[in-house]
């Protein structure tokens, strides 16, 4: 039985070890929520490699994540250890070009991508099982 403390430590380590990491419902290939799917589609369209953690297997993951970040909803995107935001902020920053700038990838003009757009190969990690 994993304790809450161990889960929180694993979350903090994952955030610290991955330059870009997304906590989401489901996986990038099989998102289980429209907001998670939309956020994945934005990252894929930028070609930004990211780690992903599915928060659904254990409700304590979400609880501890929100305690760490102070952010109540899923998905949550972290860049260099800092919370970037959820779906709304990520989408808005994508549309203005701020996200490409912050992530250091070439800006792509225009519209928010459709859900489920095929993108670059993903680095998927789930160390919280």
């Amino acid at each position: 039985m994993t304790s809450e403390n161990a889960i929180r430590t694993a979350i903090e380590q994952a955030i610290g070890e991955h330059e870009l990491i997304l906590f989401m419902k489901g996986t990038p290939d099989q998102p289980r929520c429209g907001f998670s799917a939309r956020t994945v589609a934005v990252l894929e369209s930028l070609g930004a490699p990211f780690a992903a953690v599915d928060i659904l297997p254990d409700p304590r993951i979400r609880q501890e994540l929100s305690a760490v970040s102070g952010w109540p909803t899923i998905p949550q995107l972290f860049h260099k250890g800092e919370l970037v935001g959820g779906c709304d902020i990520v989408s808005e920053m994508y549309e203005t070009g701020e996200l490409a700038e912050q992530l250091g990838v070439a800006a792509q003009a225009g519209e928010t991508p459709e859900d489920g757009v095929d993108g670059a190969p993903l680095t998927v990690e789930n160390r919280l099982n």
């Binding site: 907001f35 979400r62 102070g70 952010w71 109540p72 909803t73 899923i74 919370l83 970037v84 935001g85 959820g86 779906c87 709304d88 902020i89 808005e92 920053m93």
Partner: protein
């Protein structure tokens, strides 16, 4: 059932001089909010101010609240 009016009212009473336009289906909502309270804050901080009004109801009786915030 949560109504768009309830969400609107709680935002407008919870934030100074806020005006909110809320749409939604009873579970998923979208709010466009203008308030001087957002001045000088990052997007993250602006959204946190709003989320704090709803606490644990977010993810519970309110499945999702999508936000667009500005100061004018």
């Amino acid at each position: 059932m949560v109504t768009t009016d309830e969400i609107k009212q709680r935002i407008e009473t919870g934030l100074p001089a806020a005006r909110a336009e809320v749409t939604g289906d009873g579970q998923h909502f979208r709010a466009e909010i203008v308030s001087p309270a957002f001045g000088g804050l990052s997007r993250i901080q602006q959204h946190k101010l709003v989320y704090e009004l709803f606490g644990s109801e977010l993810g519970g009786r309110i499945h999702a609240l999508s936000l667009k915030t500005s100061t004018e």
